[in-house]
Symmetry: C2
């Protein structure tokens, strides 16, 4: 979906309907055939991005060749490699839309919140599994850990966009995922 790529790299506000139509090469009437309004387009964008990300996360979740923490790390490594291909622009499309739209439109805010919760549920689920295999300390609340991992990842992506390099993402990986959260760091 060319419109999704445009918004990912330029932002929602900066991407005009005309530009989306030009990119996909359809006349203006077609936009309103598919979408009721720009808000409707935005909501379908959220669905499009979140479906792709959750599908990818689910694909890593069932990898029986990896331990639970390895699956989680592999998902973030995949995300990092995607950002590398985009020269460290773009970041998380859902995080971007939240930053840009959550404050100005309650419909977007509620939908984005729901998507964040779905992502965090997957992350916490892997952490619960990692606790059962002994990779993560069982005294830590998996939901709180999932929330912390998600916050740090989103913030590292903001830093990536400003620095145009992956150093904060690598620091997140090393210090939080492999460090604080993993049991071996406590011993």
């Amino acid at each position: 979906m060319e419109g999704a790529r445009l918004v990912h790299l330029k932002g929602y506000g900066a991407t005009g309907i005309k530009e989306i139509l030009d990119a996909v090469g359809v006349p203006k009437g077609s936009f309103y055939f598919y979408f009721k309004s720009k808000q409707d387009f935005g909501l379908q964008l959220i669905d499009h991005y979140s479906r792709n990300i959750l599908r990818k996360l689910d694909a890593f979740t069932v990898r029986s060749d990896l331990s639970p923490m390895q699956r989680l790390t592999a998902f973030f490594d995949w995300f990092l490699s995607m950002n590398e291909k985009n020269q460290y622009r773009g970041g998380c499309p859902i995080g971007n839309l939240s930053q840009e739209l959550a404050d100005i439109d309650e419909v977007f805010q509620k939908r984005l919140h729901q998507v964040f919760e779905e992502m965090k549920d997957r992350i916490s689920g892997l952490i619960v599994e990692a606790q059962s295999t002994g990779e993560v300390e069982t005294s830590l609340d998996p939901h709180a850990l999932g929330d912390l991992v998600f916050s740090t990842f989103q913030g590292a992506l903001i830093q990536m966009k400003a620095s145009a390099d992956p150093s904060s993402l690598l620091n997140f990986r090393h210090l939080l995922l492999k460090g604080f959260i993993s049991r071996q760091s406590k011993t």
Copy 2:
């Protein structure tokens, strides 16, 4: 600065020059008396926000009645109380601009990166002090810790905007600042 408040709550792209002028009650000619362009306005906005935040951070840094980690926590508590007043909208004005502008304008990107580095220098400085007083493990790299704290805080603010509540910020405070980073959590 009314323009700064508008952009903080609505976003840069969604705030038109006309709206800024209406808010401050000046005719259009005045805008171009003060600013060369909307980009120039954006750069001055970054300076305005960063000056305010760094000044506040510096004020906490010299609080001799608090330990280094207490100073750092007090700064984040102040930030949290500001967001509470805004009903958990707004977040970090610099983080917002980075999310929105770093990808589409290299001048903004470089300036935002510089501001992030200045903020992280302050945070890492407090962590170095906290290591000297024994509040933070000395085996951990203070710059990496400062970067992690900054990422997590920025990401927790994105989550705050989507959830319209402070739970991720409180989790950042409890699990990272008071937990993983503080020496007592290791014992």
